[in-house]
C-alpha cells in the first residue's frame, strides 16, 4: 500500500460549506450536457458540499470534480478527474467535470505544456480523491459509531458489514467536510484500478458536437466591444505613426489608438515570449467592422533592427555549423582519431524551416479592466504567469486580478505565451469597457513565436564489422541551441562529440509541440537509417545493438544519459512484433525516440502518389507508463503522428526582408484529409510505472519513419523539410 502525505494548503478547505447556488449552476450544466433520463432528473441534487477544492459531493451522491489544468485538446479535462474519481471510489457515471479557475492556493501547476499535466498532477490528484474518501469514511464511522477501518467503499457507497449499515457518499458529504484532514492517506494498488486504464469518452463531447460556446472566441459579455490589433508587417519594424481620422469615422468603429503593451520598466515573465511591445488597437462594435477598419488603416512603421530573409537564416545557420565550439556540450573518447581509423564515414546535414503553430482557434482574450479590478477570461496555457505580468503592467495587486480559463482551440505551445491576454487588458483599460481581443488568421500567423528554423550535421564512423565507433553532432537553431547532448545515441558510442550553436534572430520563436525534438528526431532517425544501411544491418537490429551497449556497458556516466535504454528497446521490440517487421520490399520505415519522459517507436508504410507520400499505415508503440484513458491517449498519439507527417511534408514559414510570406492557409499548407495516414494503430507497454506525457512524444519520431519509408520508395534521401515543397504540391 502506498501512503502519501497530504500536502494541501489548509486554506483551501471550505469545511462543510454548502455552496450557494452550487446545485443550480451544476444542475444546469449537467442538464445541458447529459440530457438526463427521468431517473436522473428525479435525483437532481439539492445541496453540494465542498470537500477539498478538487471536488464537491451532492446530497444525492453526485460528484463534481474540478479539472485544474487548461484544456487544449489533450483531454486532461477527462483524464485528470478520472484519477481523482479512481481514488475517491465513485461510479464515473455520477461524475461531472468543471474547469477550475486559476487558484494557486488549491492547485499546483495550472499549466498545460511539456506534456506534464498528468505526470505532475498524478500524485496530487490521487491524494485529493483518497483524502475525500478518507473523510467520508471518518464521517460514516462517527455516525455509525464503528471503527473506520471496518468501513469499505464501492462506487460511491460506504458499508459496514458487521452492523449491516450502508450509505451513499451524498448522505455523509456534509459531515465529511467537517472531518479532520488526515495527515496521510493510502492510495490504491495499480491492480485495483477500476477507472484508470479504461476508455472514457471526452466529457465535453456533446457540447463540442452541438456547438456550445466553449472557446475563448465564443465569449460574449454584456456591453462587450470587439478589439483587433495591427502589428508591424515585418520583423525588425516598429510602430511610428498613423492617421486615424477617416478610419475612426467608419461604421461601428469606436476608437483606434497605439498601445504600449510592455512599457519600459514592466516586469515581464518568460510567458510573455515574443509579445510585441507596441501595437495599434482597433476597437469596434463587431468583428467584421474591425476587420474593415484594419484594412483601411494606414500605419507608418520604422526599422528597429535589421530585417532578415530566409536566405539569411539559411546562410547564417550553415556558417554556425562550420565553426568549432570552444567547449563542446559533451565529449566522450576521441572522435577525431576514431574517424581517421573508421572503415566508413558518413556525414549528412538536415534542415527545417520556421513553423507557425496555427492553432485552429486564433489568439484571443476577454478583458474587463476597471480601476477596481481586472477580470480576464480566455484560452491561455499559463494563466499563473499572465497574472504576474498583469500585476506589473496594470500596476494592480494580484488579489484584484481574476483569470478564468476557457477550452482552447488548440495549443501546441502557442498559448504558453499569453501576451494577447496582456494586450486585451491594456486595450480594455484604455477603453474603460469590456473587450474581446480577436486576432485574424493573418495576425495570428504573422505574429511570430515560431518553431525555430534548424540545421544539424551528423557524422558517423563505422568499423569494418559495421559497428558504430564515432558520432559527431553539430546543431544550430534560431534563438535556440538545438542539441540534447545526453540523449541517444550518447552513451552507446565510444567516441562521441556534441556541439550546439544559437543564431540570434529578430524573428521571434517559442516552444512548438515537442520543442527541438520535433526536428532532431526526424534528422537523427533518418541518419541512423542511412548509417545502418551502410553497416549492412537491419535498421531495428542496428538500434537494438546500440541499446544493448547502453544497457550492458554504457559509455560515460550512465546517470548522465537522459534515457532508459531498456524502455527504449522495449518499444522498438513491441513495434517490430506488432508490425510484422521485415526490412525488404515494402516502402516501410522505422523510427524511435524518447522525449517528455515517454518512449515511442513507429513503423510506417506508404505509397508515393506522384511525388506525394500517402501513408497507408502507422504502427506506434508507446511506453508512457500507466495509461489513464487509452481512448484519448490513442487520439493524442494519432494527432501527433498526423501533425508530424503534415509539417515535415508540407509546411513552412519563410521571410523576405522580415516580412512573413505565408499569411493564411492558402499559402501555408497544413495536412488535409486526403493526405492523412489511412490507418494508425497504437500499442502500449504495460508496466505500471507512473504515467508520463503523451501530448508530444508521438510527433518527433514519425518524421524519421516517414523519411525512411520515402527513401525506400523513391531511392532518394530526404534531408530538408518540408520534404515536398508547397510549389510542387500546389503546382
Amino acid at each position: 500500500m502506498t501512503l502519501v502525505k497530504t500536502t494541501y494548503n489548509r486554506r483551501s478547505f471550505l469545511k462543510g460549506s454548502t455552496l450557494a447556488g452550487g446545485g443550480m449552476i451544476l444542475g444546469f450544466s449537467w442538464l445541458a450536457s447529459c440530457k438526463p433520463t427521468p431517473e436522473q432528473i428525479k435525483s437532481m441534487p439539492k445541496e453540494w458540499f465542498d470537500i477539498n477544492g478538487f471536488l464537491k459531493i451532492a446530497d444525492n451522491g453526485m460528484v463534481t470534480i474540478m479539472s485544474p489544468n487548461p484544456e487544449i485538446g489533450q483531454n486532461v479535462k477527462t483524464a485528470m478527474p478520472m484519477i481523482i474519481a479512481e481514488e475517491l471510489d465513485v461510479d464515473w457515471d455520477d461524475v461531472t467535470v468543471e474547469q477550475a479557475a486559476l487558484n494557486t492556493d488549491i492547485f499546483t501547476r495550472q499549466l498545460a505544456g511539456g506534456s506534464q499535466s498528468i505526470r505532475q498532477g498524478w500524485e496530487s490528484l490521487r491524494m485529493a480523491g483518497a483524502t475525500a474518501r478518507h473523510m467520508l469514511i471518518a464521517a460514516a464511522a462517527e455516525a455509525w459509531q464503528v471503527p473506520a477501518d471496518e468501513i469499505t467503499t464501492n462506487e460511491g457507497i460506504l458499508s459496514h458489514e458487521a452492523s449491516n449499515k450502508s450509505a451513499n457518499y451524498g448522505e455523509m458529504a456534509s459531515a465529511a467536510g467537517a472531518m479532520a484532514v488526515p495527515e496521510e492517506v493510502a492510495l490504491k494498488e495499480v491492480k485495483d484500478f477500476k477507472i484508470i486504464g479504461t476508455d472514457r469518452k471526452n466529457v465535453d463531447g456533446l457540447d463540442i458536437i452541438t456547438g456550445k460556446p466553449l472557446f475563448g472566441l465564443d465569449i460574449d459579455e454584456e456591453g462587450m466591444l470587439i478589439a483587433m490589433i495591427v502589428h508591424p508587417p515585418a520583423f525588425g519594424m516598429k510602430y511610428k505613426s498613423m492617421d486615424t481620422e477617416s478610419v475612426k469615422a467608419m461604421p461601428g468603429i469606436k476608437d483606434v489608438f497605439p498601445i504600449e503593451v510592455y512599457p519600459e520598466g514592466v516586469e515581464k515573465q518568460w510567458s510573455d515570449g515574443g509579445g510585441i511591445a507596441e501595437l495599434v488597437a482597433v476597437v469596434g462594435a463587431s468583428t467584421w467592422q474591425c476587420m474593415q477598419a484594419k484594412k483601411a488603416l494606414k500605419v507608418q512603421w520604422e526599422e528597429a533592427s535589421k530585417p532578415e530573409s530566409s536566405s539569411d537564416h539559411d546562410a547564417a545557420l550553415t556558417k554556425l555549423l562550420n565553426t568549432t565550439a570552444a567547449a563542446p556540450a559533451r565529449q566522450d573518447g576521441d572522435v577525431k582519431k576514431a574517424f581517421k581509423n573508421a572503415a566508413q564515414v558518413i556525414e549528412r546535414t538536415y534542415s527545417a524551416p520556421f513553423l507557425a503553430h496555427n492553432t485552429m482557434e486564433p489568439m484571443n482574450f476577454f478583458a474587463h479592466v476597471t480601476s477596481e479590478k481586472a477580470m480576464l477570461k480566455g484560452p491561455v496555457q499559463t494563466p499563473e504567469f499572465l497574472e504576474k505580468t498583469l500585476v506589473s503592467v496594470l500596476d494592480m495587486p494580484l488579489e484584484k486580478i481574476d483569470i478564468m480559463m476557457t477550452r482552447m482551440g488548440g495549443g501546441f505551445g502557442r498559448r504558453l505565451y499569453g501576451h494577447f491576454g496582456v494586450e486585451a487588458a491594456v486595450i480594455s483599460k484604455q477603453m474603460q469597457a469590456p473587450i474581446k481581443l480577436v486576432y485574424s488568421r493573418e495576425d495570428d500567423m504573422t505574429q511570430g513565436t515560431y518553431r525555430p528554423a534548424y540545421k544539424i550535421t551528423y557524422k558517423a564512423g563505422l568499423d569494418k564489422e559495421g559497428n558504430l565507433i564515432a558520432w559527431h553532432v553539430k546543431g544550430a537553431g534560431a534563438n535556440d541551441d538545438l542539441v540534447f547532448e545526453n540523449r541517444f545515441p550518447a552513451g552507446t558510442v565510444d567516441n562521441f562529440l556534441a556541439e550546439k550553436y544559437t543564431l540570434e534572430s529578430n524573428v521571434t520563436t517559442g516552444a512548438w509541440r515537442a520543442p527541438r525534438s520535433n526536428f532532431i528526431a526526424g534528422a537523427e532517425q533518418s541518419f541512423i537509417d542511412e548509417v545502418a544501411e551502410a553497416a549492412g544491418k537491419d535498421p531495428i537490429d542496428f538500434r537494438l545493438e546500440l541499446f544493448d551497449r547502453a544497457i550492458n556497458n554504457p559509455v560515460g556516466d550512465p546517470e548522465k544519459n537522459d534515457y532508459d535504454p531498456k524502455r527504449y528497446a522495449g518499444v522498438l521490440e513491441l513495434v517490430k512484433e506488432k508490425s510484422g517487421w521485415t526490412n525488404g520490399g515494402k516502402a516501410r520505415g522505422v523510427s524511435a525516440y524518447y522525449c517528455h519522459n515517454s518512449y515511442v517507436a513507429q513503423v510506417l508504410d506508404l505509397e508515393m502518389e506522384g511525388n506525394t507520400p500517402r501513408v497507408q499505415k502507422v504502427w506506434c508503440a508507446v511506453d508512457c507508463g500507466i495509461v489513464v484513458n487509452p481512448l484519448s491517449a490513442k487520439n493524442q498519439i494519432e494527432g501527433g503522428i498526423i501533425d508530424g507527417i503534415g509539417h515535415a511534408t508540407y509546411s513552412e514559414m519563410t521571410f523576405e526582408n522580415g516580412k512573413p510570406i505565408q499569411e493564411n492557409f492558402d499559402t501555408y499548407q497544413l495536412i488535409r484529409q486526403q493526405q492523412a495516414p489511412k490507418e494508425i494503430e497504437s500499442f502500449f507497454v504495460d508496466n505500471g510505472i507512473d504515467p508520463t506525457g503523451l501530448g508530444e512524444p508521438s510527433l518527433p519520431p514519425i518524421i524519421g519513419a516517414l523519411a525512411n519509408a520515402m527513401y525506400k520508395s523513391t531511392g532518394k534521401r530526404y534531408y530538408n523539410q518540408p520534404f515536398i515543397s508547397e510549389k510542387q504540391v500546389l503546382g
Partner: protein, 154 residues
C-alpha cells in the same frame, strides 16, 4: 446598413448590418450563434461551414445580402439534442481533440451524406478535404462518417 430577414435554424431573424457582412460574423456577432467557427476567413479551412438549403457552404464567403429566402442551418440547429446520425457517430468515435474544427466537419459531413449516403473511403476523403483539423483527427473523422453512413442505411 440594411435590414434582412433570415431563416436560421427554423427561426426568422431580423438584423440590420452592412450588406457585405459575411454570414459567419452575422451568426457569431449578431445572432450570437457561435457554434460556427472562424478559422481563416478565406475559404481555406471549412471551420465556418453551414447549410444553405441542403448545401454545405462556407459562411465566411457568404455575404448576408446573398442569402435571400434560403433557410440556413448551423450546428446548433442540425438536431434538437445532438442526435443527428453524424453527431452520434462523432460521439461514438470520440473524434475531437480541441474540438474547434468539429462543427465545420460535422456540417460538411452531414451535407455530404445527404448527397451520397453510401460513400467510399476515397469519396469521403475528397468531400472532407476542405476541412482542416489542426489537431489531426482525420482518421477518426473518416471512421465516424463511415459509421454514420452505415447507421443511416441500416
Amino acid at each position: 446598413m440594411a435590414n434582412y430577414t433570415l431563416n436560421i435554424n427554423g427561426v426568422q431573424q431580423e438584423i440590420d448590418v452592412d450588406p457585405s457582412t459575411p454570414m459567419l460574423w452575422v451568426l457569431r456577432d449578431h445572432i450570437k450563434l457561435v457554434g460556427t467557427k472562424y478559422g481563416c476567413g478565406i475559404a481555406q479551412c471549412g471551420a465556418c461551414t453551414i447549410h444553405l438549403g441542403d448545401d454545405a457552404v462556407r459562411s465566411c464567403q457568404l455575404t448576408v445580402s446573398s442569402v435571400g429566402e434560403k433557410p440556413i442551418t448551423t450546428i446548433e440547429g442540425l438536431s434538437e439534442n445532438g442526435d443527428h446520425p453524424v453527431q452520434k457517430a462523432w460521439l461514438e468515435e470520440d473524434v475531437y481533440q480541441c474540438g474547434y474544427c468539429q462543427a465545420g466537419q460535422i456540417m460538411n459531413a452531414s451535407a455530404f451524406l445527404k448527397s451520397n449516403s453510401n460513400p467510399t473511403e476515397a469519396e469521403i476523403e475528397t468531400a472532407m478535404n476542405g476541412n482542416i483539423c489542426r489537431c489531426g483527427t482525420y482518421t477518426r473523422i473518416k471512421k465516424a462518417i463511415m459509421r454514420a453512413a452505415t447507421s443511416e442505411n441500416a
